[in-house]
Amino acid sequence: MKVDITVNGEPTSADVEPRTLLAHYLRDTVGLKATNIGCDTTSCGACTVLVDGESVKSCTVLAVQVDEQSVQTMEDLGIEHKVTAAFRQEHGLQCGFCTPGMVMAAVSLIEENPDLTEKDVREGLEGNICRCTGYHNIVRAVLVAAGKDPDAAQAAGADDKTVAPGFSAGEGAK
């Protein structure tokens, strides 16, 4: 069936099977290869893109579901965007496979909460896995992109013994 999807501000249109995943539409139909497919099971976040400004995992969205909506991929940000610039400045990547997903998740996170703490960043990236385990610099990069001093933010979080939602605080925790 025919879909009309705005991708990075440009109209795109194609006749796709309903089972076409958004990740495949972006990579194979539109030809934008920044969006990586990692686990293909909604776990790793490498395929994260924005739909109408909100982060989604494009391996778990059908192209037909976002017909007449707007999609943004990492190609649209460019090297001067505050998030990509911060990832470069803080060396927020090693192999780079998770990076497009991390960056797009970060764009959405900063949009929803402009006053991020280090804890907010770590929780907000819970859906993105870095197999190089380079989280330290990724978190710093997102803090920089959010206009925070990463050293101060990390120092402020150092004594924070509370746990992320979903984790049990354990006996005796506050």
């Binding site: 069936m1 309903p18 995943l21 293909d40 099971t41 982060s55 995992k57 979903g166």
Partner: protein, 275 residues
């Protein structure tokens, strides 16, 4: 992984969606956020002939106070529950539970109605709505009916919802901003609960506990609730939380492990809720 081919419809009204469901019966599946359905379709554990997408129906996307209850449209996403001022004031358990589902990307897509209809005993929201004594509103060509969630679930991934019925609304009592807790035990932050316990303090003062992953359906810790009603201490009541449950065995734990874990989580949740 790519699903088996299917036809796709995105009706513009609830009535049109119900007409499509009635027309296609068992061959049709309702898609809302798709974050339970699409993974099983990609694994080819499900292969519907037609997918009816209700995810963008504005008619099903609302949170509003209605008398003594809060009415929530079935296609309301987790994200919308989390940031809802109405729920923060009127039923704060729900956004707190929704906050623990998946990750931000999942919460941008997944819906309350989808979670309730999917009937996953490891799901967070079904147990929370069960603790709240909520109501599931179903609509079909035969009309609308309200099913207490205590009567909704019949087994793993199954409920009393007929194939031509659509979950259109979830109703929960106005329990306020306090008196609740959710203790969820997971291996990773965005994982399914190994066991979780939701505590709600009802408008009449009764304490309810909903249990996640302690049987084929979401369950209430009835023995714990009865003990609390008799004035027993939190410790005494929480020790009864596994009574009447049939927890599963999987790679995360045995029934014995879960039977112990649920008493620990119930105690913590009851202490938090009463603090």
């Amino acid at each position: 992984m790519i699903p088996v081919g299917f036809d796709y419809e995105r009706p513009q009204t609830v009535d049109a969606a119900i007409a499509l469901l009635a027309e296609h019966g068992d061959g049709a599946t309702v898609l809302a956020g798709g974050h339970s359905l699409l993974p099983v379709m990609k694994l080819r554990l499900a292969a519907p002939e037609i997918v009816i997408d209700i995810g963008r129906l504005a008619e099903l996307n609302y949170i509003r106070v209605d008398g003594d209850e809060v009415a929530i449209g079935a296609a309301t996403r987790y994200r919308d529950l989390v940031i809802s001022d109405v729920l923060a004031a009127e039923c704060a358990l729900l956004p707190a539970v929704a906050r623990t589902v998946g990750d931000p990307q999942v919460r941008h897509r997944g819906t309350l109605g989808g979670a309730i209809a999917h009937a996953d005993p490891a799901g967070d929201l079904p147990a929370a709505v069960l603790a709240l004594d909520g109501t599931v509103v179903l609509r079909s060509p035969r009309g609308e009916r309200k099913v207490p969630i205590t009567e909704f679930y019949t087994g793993v991934f199954s409920s009393v919802k007929e194939p031509d019925e659509l979950v259109v609304e979830i109703r929960v009592p106005r329990t306020g901003a306090t008196g609740w807790a959710y203790e969820k035990f997971t291996r990773r932050s965005n994982d399914w609960a190994i066991v979780a316990v939701a505590v709600a303090t009802m408008p009449d003062g009764a304490t309810h506990l909903g249990l996640v992953n302690m049987g084929g359906t979401p369950l209430r810790a009835s023995a714990t609730e009865a003990a609390l009603a008799e004035g027993k201490s939190i410790e005494e009541a929480a020790a009864l939380a596994a009574e009447g449950t049939e927890p599963p065995t999987d790679s995360h734990g045995t029934p014995e492990y879960r039977n112990h874990l649920v008493t620990v989580l119930a105690k913590r949740a009851l202490k938090t809720a009463s603090a």
